[in-house]
């Protein structure tokens, strides 16, 4: 399989979605959701990151399985770093 050529409309749609989500995340910060402010901000950020990775970085279209393995492994180890560190620090009795 050769590389995939993404249609311009798809790229522009992703770009518009990213801009709208940036506005939404900035606007949501001013609404009091209690602890959910952080969660909403991080969910929107992750959604934006997925759009960039899948469409702009062509992960969705990549025929090479090895690329996906590398990416998933990197995110997996990042989650170990963040998950286990926070599980420690947030449960300590200071």
């Amino acid at each position: 399989m050769s590389e995939h050529i993404v249609p311009v409309q798809t790229n522009v749609a992703v770009w518009l979605a990213l801009l709208v989500l940036t506005g939404v995340t900035a606007g949501m910060a001013f609404i009091d959701l209690g602890p959910f402010n952080t969660i909403v901000a991080l969910v929107i950020a992750t959604f934006k990151a997925l759009l960039v990775a899948l469409i702009f970085m062509h992960v969705k279209y990549a025929s090479e399985r090895l690329t996906k393995v590398v990416l998933i492994a990197a995110v997996f180890f990042l989650m170990i770093l963040l998950g286990l560190s926070l599980a420690d620090y947030t449960t300590r009795l200071l």
Partner: protein, 231 residues
């Protein structure tokens, strides 16, 4: 083993002799680039981890310090980076389709947007210097903790916020500076017509780098600027 004269005749000039064909060569460089990005994820991951731990410990002071950042400039810069990601995608697409002029235009636009981002960042950092929000002997942070008007902000904790702020946005900006350098090189070669539908790996892999730096900012923006903005 040496190639037979006939096989040499069919080679793309961009094919290096240790690869079987162009597709294998492209996949190998792509894999190398993704491995590099995996190391970059762990590099920034360490700083994000430090940030999250301190933010959990000193949430109120971090919220106060975060409020002193300019949310308008932060949002504008996020939009600028997103636009630059679009121009990168369109430059890669132009190379895939063999449109030289489009490549040059989109790469030039990417450079302009990248420099605009760095310019806005410079404005933000300058105001931090003026407000004495640079960690060190001269550090001073006025104000009280949000929702607790009587409680002054802990100077040490606010300094930790700004140390992390400068470390993270600084490393991100360094990546942007390197990106601007890489894209200047790409612009020169696109101008010369070096990138064809058969061979445009430098453009493709530099694009991956640029998008990665964009993703880092996508997380930095809400984490640093939007901790606690509610009235």
């Amino acid at each position: 083993m040496a190639d037979s004269p006939m096989a040499v005749g069919q080679h793309s000039p961009a094919l290096q002799h240790h690869f079987a064909d162009m597709e294998q060569q492209r996949q190998a460089s792509s894999l190398g680039m993704w491995l590099f990005l995996a190391t970059e994820i762990m590099f920034f991951g360490g700083m994000f981890c430090a940030y999250l731990v301190y933010r959990y410990w000193y949430f109120a002071d971090f919220a106060a310090a975060s409020k002193s950042l300019d949310i308008t400039l932060g949002t504008v810069n996020t939009a600028v980076l997103i636009c630059s990601s679009l121009t990168v995608v369109l430059a890669v697409r132009a190379a895939q389709l063999g449109k030289r002029q489009e490549q040059v235009v989109y790469l030039a636009l990417t450079l302009v947007l990248g420099l605009a981002f760095l310019g806005v960042k410079a404005i933000e950092w300058t105001s931090k210097f003026k407000e004495h929000h640079i960690p060190g002997a001269g550090f001073h942070f006025e104000g009280s903790v949000p929702q607790h008007p009587g409680q002054p902000v802990d100077q040490q904790h606010a300094q930790i916020f700004f140390s992390l702020y400068f470390a993270m946005t600084g490393m991100h900006a360094l990546h942007m500076v390197i990106g601007v350098g890489i894209f200047s090189y790409l612009l020169y070669h696109a101008w010369k017509g070096s990138y064809t539908p058969e061979y445009h790996t430098p453009l493709e892999n530099s694009g991956l780098y640029w998008h990665f730096v964009d993703i880092v900012w996508i997380y930095l923006f809400p984490l640093l600027y939007l901790i606690d903005r509610k009235k």
